[in-house]
């Protein structure tokens, strides 16, 4: 019980006035009548349920954080869920993982320190360094593109695209074979001990490189560094930057030029980049810079809808419904493609688009969902 009390303190849950605004905006609660963010917190507050760690409902949360943003009293519901999941894991309460937990298994293997060839995507034309000011944290896009080759094979190109972009501005980033997964999915499914191992390895790798700035393309990696790592380790002395912010800086310095495109796209604010990190403007400025016309969906920025799944846990018909609604919203804008930085959003939306039409009951679900970094690289001016 004391662990719950600590959690109540840390997340400001005590301030909950039980107004229910979180429920009214929660995407899961709209579909799942058994789930509401405040119910779990209220049970903890009232001390009625002393066996909260056994609660199955906590795995339904997609941790999209819309409840946090809308809560009048700033209760950190998502943080509460994260803490609770760690206790649940210790108590033997596990979620159902997609692909029999393939992604988590991969992360566990990395945490145990096996040999790897993480830079297999590196081609001779890409210029990278072993030590330097700018570290590019590649993330697991290549691995995801391999596991989900049927729906998001383009993710295998993402790190190469980002390096190509940086090279065009004369920047040779550090990339490292010692980099491992950031551990995002492990901390969100409660495996804190393995998460810490991954964290320590990554931070040591970055420190060894002497980097002053770490650039991320994957919103989940960046959120994990910015929030979770710094919570464990205190503030870093290197700067964390999202690629969209970094490119806009380079554009401002006149170091980067793009061929202007002419297609219409819509932009999906992934929860990690948007609500968790507050980065809404730079991806939009970037779209303007590469000459793509942005058509906004009604639910955008801090109200952005959810891709339906977090950490590949508890994917269900509810996830499918959320994906379906978001895709319909994107199609209704008249855009040819929906761009997003989060590789997992790309996987999840394409999962819906690739599923048998009898399942979605809609023949008209046709839109391209693409990873943003690859779309930028295509517009690069050679020698620019």
């Amino acid at each position: 019980m004391s662990e719950i009390k600590k959690l109540i303190d840390e997340t400001g849950a005590f301030d909950c006035v039980e107004c229910g605004k979180c429920t009214s905006v929660c995407p899961v609660a709209k579909v799942d009548t058994k789930f509401a963010p405040r119910l779990i917190v209220v049970k903890a507050l009232e001390g009625v349920d002393t066996n909260l760690a056994q609660e199955k409902e906590m795995w339904s949360c997609t941790t999209c954080e819309i409840c946090n943003k809308m809560c009048p009293y700033k209760v950190d519901f998502t943080g509460f869920i994260q803490g609770l999941r760690s206790q649940a894991h210790d108590a033997g309460n596990f979620p159902v993982l997609s692909q029999a937990g393939a992604v988590q298994t991969m992360q566990r293997i990395m945490a145990r320190g096996s040999k790897q060839n993480r830079l297999g995507w590196l081609t001779p034309d890409l210029r990278v360094k072993e030590k330097g000011d700018v570290f590019f944290f590649t993330g697991c896009a290549v691995q995801l593109g391999t596991i989900y080759y049927d729906r998001a094979v383009e993710l295998r190109q993402t790190p190469a695209s980002i390096v190509k972009i940086l090279n065009s501005a004369g920047i040779e980033p550090v990339v490292s074979n010692d980099e491992v997964c950031c551990g995002h999915d492990l901390i969100w499914t409660g495996e804190e001990d393995l998460f810490i191992k991954l964290m320590d390895r990554n931070v040591e790798t970055i420190k060894r490189s002497g980097a002053k700035t770490v650039v991320f393309s994957c919103p989940e990696c960046m959120r994990t560094f910015e929030v979770d790592y710094q919570e464990f380790l205190g503030d870093f002395d290197f700067e964390l930057k999202h690629i969209s912010e970094y490119i806009m800086e380079l554009v401002g310095e006149g170091k980067m030029h793009f061929n202007k495109g002419d297609s219409k796209v819509t932009y999906h604010d992934s929860c990690r980049l948007g609500r968790h990190l507050g980065i809404y403007d730079s991806p939009r400025e970037l779209l303007d810079e590469i000459g793509l016309e942005l058509v906004e969906m009604p639910n955008s920025r801090e109200k952005s809808a959810c891709c339906g799944v977090n950490a590949f846990a508890n994917c269900s018909e509810i996830s499918k419904k959320l994906q379906h609604d978001r895709i319909v919203e994107a199609i209704e804008t008249g855009a040819q493609a929906m761009l997003t930085f989060c590789p997992k959003c790309v996987v999840h939306f394409n999962c819906l688009l690739n599923s048998p039409k009898s399942m979605t009951e809609n023949e008209k679900l046709k839109i391209v969902v693409r990873e943003f970094g690859n779309a930028i690289a295509e517009r690069l001016q050679e020698g620019g």
Partner: protein, 434 residues
């Protein structure tokens, strides 16, 4: 030593303070930035918990104020400077040119119907109807004189037109009028500048500005008013139809730490109850629902008022915060709320948001002019919240009404009287020690 007081703001608090002082024989300079005195209370339809017609009980006080031999009413004016100290302040007031001679205009309204520049959103009607370039803000405006809006007037902007001058039989129109700076000495100052209505467009979860049939409470007050833009018929923005179901959402932007409005606005439990009752009085088959966080009906007769709404007016109270994230094809807003941890969605014909009432945006500027401190939210700070509620950090400057923090009409009136008593005390002291 000055036997006069400056009152800034002529809402119900400022009016009360002015009348109290004037009746004691004190000269009052009442400064109002709008063309008419009356403030927010003049915009309201009814008052709670008695359901009195708001303007009917305020208008006599407005008229008393304007006609009082001891009150110098300066409308369309702003305080721009204050020097000196308690007992002897030197005030500088900018009297904006209204291009109509107040002493000649009889308020006959001839110019108001002839002015060709139409379609300017009416500030008093919360933008729900339009006015012309020469206008009187509302029917019972005091002083009952017209004002030319210099931004829109064709003659003042382009040198054309001149219709109002032609039709005015009293020759009251004066396009050559200039802004004037008036200076006078006063012994004390009372600040009663009221509140701004928070704009819920910044919080996209309420759909205001996105869905046509979502209104804010101040708009609703004008809609149900017989003298309002729809002559008292409740009408939807999308099709002009009369709603059969209305949802009222409480605490929109107030009691919200994220928006730095952690305070309770102190009036919305009551005004929404009143508005729900009135809907039923206007049309018997209207069904109203109020979504609330906590029911804070604490003052005398307030809880009974809520019970009456439930019993006699069939108002449904739902204990949940609510949001409006979607609408149907025929523009019916869909309200999402929480029933025992279950997410429920319900369609309504109209939604009224009880928005937070916030400090005036101009308070920062005013605090510089007066030297008074603001509290952490931007309201004017009292010297001591318990024993000196109407005193500010500057001796001789007092505060009354909502500009000092949430207050309803009776509280604002009480504070107006309290500030007047304190100001009078200052004048007596000044006379004794001069």
């Amino acid at each position: 030593m000055e036997r006069s007081v400056l009152v800034v703001g002529s809402g119900v608090a400022g009016i009360q303070a002015s009348l109290d002082l004037a009746d004691k024989g004190v000269i009052v300079h009442l400064v109002e930035k709008d063309p008419s005195i009356g403030g927010r209370m003049a915009q309201l339809d009814k008052t709670f918990p008695t359901n009195d017609c708001s303007i009917c009980i305020l208008a006599p006080k407005m008229a008393d104020c304007y006609g009082h031999p001891n009150i110098n009413v300066l409308t369309y004016s702003e305080l721009i400077g204050l020097d000196g100290h308690k007992g002897r302040f030197k005030a500088k007031v900018l009297k904006k040119a209204r291009y109509v001679d107040e002493s000649k205009c009889t308020g006959c309204g001839e110019c108001l119907v002839k002015c060709p520049t139409k379609g300017i959103p009416s500030e008093f009607e919360m933008g729900l109807s339009t006015r012309r370039a020469i206008y009187m803000p509302f029917l019972q405006a005091v002083p009952r004189v017209a004002t030319i809006d210099r931004e829109h007037c064709k003659h003042l902007t382009e040198g054309k037109c001149g219709v109002c001058k032609k039709v005015c039989k009293r020759e009251a129109i004066d396009y050559e009028m200039k802004d004037a700076v008036l200076e006078f000495e006063v012994g004390a100052v009372i600040v009663a500048t009221g509140f701004d209505v928070w704009n819920p467009m910044v919080a996209s979860e309420y759909g205001y500005g996105r869905f046509p049939n979502v209104f804010i409470a101040m708009e609703y007050e004008r809609i149900i008013n017989a003298a309002g833009p729809t002559s008292g018929h409740i009408r939807r923005r999308s099709d002009g139809g009369e709603p059969r179901t209305i949802a009222f959402i409480q605490c929109v932007g107030s009691r919200n730490v994220q928006l730095n409005h952690p305070y309770c606005c102190s009036v919305c439990c009551m005004h929404s109850t009143k508005e729900a009752m009135l809907a039923k009085e206007h049309k018997d088959d209207v069904k109203t629902t109020i979504f609330y966080k906590d029911m804070r009906a604490c003052a005398k007769g307030f809880y009974e008022y809520v019970v009456r709404a439930q019993r006699d007016y069939n108002v449904e109270y739902v204990n949940s915060d609510a949001t409006v994230q979607e609408e149907t094809e025929d523009h019916n807003p869909v309200v999402s709320f929480d029933v025992g941890g279950r997410s429920v969605r319900k369609e309504f014909d109209m939604v009224v948001l009880a928005t937070s009432l916030v400090p005036r945006a101009t308070n920062a500027q005013l605090s510089k002019v007066l030297g008074v401190q603001l509290d952490e939210f931007g309201f004017i700070k009292s010297k001591d919240r318990i024993f000196s509620p109407v005193e500010t950090n500057v001796p001789g400057i007092y505060v009354a009404g909502y500009c000092g923090g949430p207050a309803d009409i009776p509280e604002s009136v009480a504070q107006g009287s309290a500030a007047a008593a304190k100001a009078a005390e200052t004048l007596v002291e000044a006379r004794v020690f001069a």
